[in-house]
Symmetry: C2
């Protein structure tokens, strides 16, 4: 029930995932049963045998304090859905609802894994090379160096399990390449990461290196990560807007499909909260059906690859092993 | 002597500035006299009556520690040039040399103005609306809230004097619009800015708002500002690269001149170090002649508008006045 015109994108995305992406999973649509049924009626050919409904009459809105959802909206789709994961009745949760409420409720219900002080949101950025996982993309501000080291491990497992990178190149977002460059946080984090076992730490990267595909995982404080993520989205939109205007003025028509495909965040699905004891994937409020479909694909891959177990193993041991 | 193929761009940019931009200024080329003379020989029609040479045999290189230039390379073009400003023999200094060395030497020779704890680098970003001044773009990390408040005043004067904005909309870069959003630094800075006289503080902006033209000045810690700046440059390059590839594959030819013009940093010239007792403008090492030319234009406008005096007045008074 989370997108701006819920549950239109949710239902279409769910049906798309069952059809095109994941022929062997089942989905539970959590929301107001009557509303979801009505939307499903617009899809008479939906594979209903793999599409279940779970009633959740309430909704978390922008007016609700994120941390209060669990206590004050126990019948909301976010709380009900995450409790299905907590109880083992579902393997993963995907939502385009209030990011803050999904994060807070995921923390309360799925709990941080041992060795994870601050679960982080990981977002995949399109680059000139392989896609790059940025974390933390906004769950945590005022991070300490040891938090960023934990993010590096979380990202390392994500890149292995979900992006299929055998030995992910992990980098620290900084304002210079040299180890002594940066602010207090990054100088100390660089020192810790350089000594950390179980990671292919390639050192500092700058803003420009990300887009060139210099690394598979880039670690940052959630403040910096969030500013960067929102800026990326807007710069891409801005430049494409400029081009369209230019083309219109020139009376030219151009198919920008290829460019859009590369820049399309929907391609990579939602952003999982990494470091909690279950799969919880956060989507944009303005997600399209395809974005929902791909977020469900991310969730399914995370389940199949045993990502949570791998993270637990990587973070729990005092000397993280190199095995995925 | 600062660009990658110095002094080619410097000499061409200087001649361009004298011809096209500033018919009533004189320029002093500071560098190895023989080398500069040789390059000038390639421009037989240069307006030599307004183009002076000042010998500086040495160069600061990437191998030099930025803070040591003044002491260890006193005959370098950076040190000699800035001393001309310090002595009053020149009104402004422009360099595409080592950013760190220009900053450090500017601080030592021109000194921070009273009321300015940390001079900041201001960079103008192209947006969908009016250009937006971002500061600090990289001179200071681990800033305190009062530093960001000072940046706001520095940017306020820059936008008035150099961008011609009568009442600049000043914003704080943050990860949410609400005053309570952000990290420790931005929450406290927001509180101070909201109570600050002499500024049109419009509140928090997010990464995406900058590019939409939501503000004239955006204030950030130099770590965040530098990451953002480098990311902007690279995203623009990346997307234009994607488009060119797309067009080539489609066998289409398209004049992207208009888009490049909007995105062209050279358009806005260099980035001045704001808050010191003189004009010092920092350019990219890969500056084109046009970038140098426009940086000289920025320096000339800063001199003509009495920017340093305005900054001194705005920052020195305990209750900054609203007048420019």
């Amino acid at each position: 029930m989370g997108t701006d015109r819920a549950p239109v994108a949710e239902v279409a995305g769910a049906i798309g995932a069952l059809r095109k992406l994941e022929p062997d999973i089942e989905l539970v649509l959590v929301g107001d049963q009557a509303v979801v049924e009505a939307e499903l009626a617009n899809h008479p050919d939906a594979p209903r045998e793999r599409l279940h409904l779970h009633h959740a009459p309430d909704r978390v809105t922008a007016a609700d304090a994120p941390a209060s959802a669990l206590r004050r909206k126990p019948e909301s789709s976010i709380v009900v859905g995450l409790k299905l994961v907590q109880s083992g009745d579902a393997d993963a949760f995907v939502s385009a609802g209030s990011t803050g409420a999904v994060m807070a409720t995921s923390l309360f219900t799925l709990r941080p894994l041992p060795g994870v002080d601050r679960p982080a949101v990981g977002t995949v950025l399109p680059t000139a090379g392989r896609p790059c996982l940025l974390l933390d993309a906004g769950a945590n501000v005022d991070c300490k160096p040891q938090h960023l080291v934990q993010f590096a491990h979380l990202g390392n497992i994500y890149a292995q399990d979900l992006l299929g990178v055998e030995r992910p190149r992990v980098a620290l977002l900084n304002i210079g390449e040299e180890p002594e460059k940066g602010d207090e946080l990054t100088v100390e984090t660089h020192r810790l990461l350089a000594a950390e076992a179980g990671l292919d730490f390639i050192g500092n990267v700058e803003g420009r290196d990300i887009i060139l595909g210099a690394c598979d995982v880039v670690v940052a404080d959630g403040f910096v990560g969030n500013v960067l993520l929102k800026f990326y989205e807007s710069v891409a939109e801005f430049i494409i807007g400029l081009l369209k205007k230019e083309l219109r003025q020139a009376g030219r028509d151009l198919d920008l499909e290829g460019v859009f495909r590369v820049l399309d965040y929907a391609e990579y699905g939602g952003a999982p909260l990494l470091g909690v004891g279950g799969i919880s994937v956060i989507c944009h409020g303005e997600s399209s059906p395809r974005a929902i479909q791909n977020a469900l694909g991310v969730a399914a891959r995370a389940v199949r690859s045993n990502m949570v177990k791998h993270i637990a193993r990587e973070l729990a041991s005092p000397e993280p092993s190199r095995e995925a």
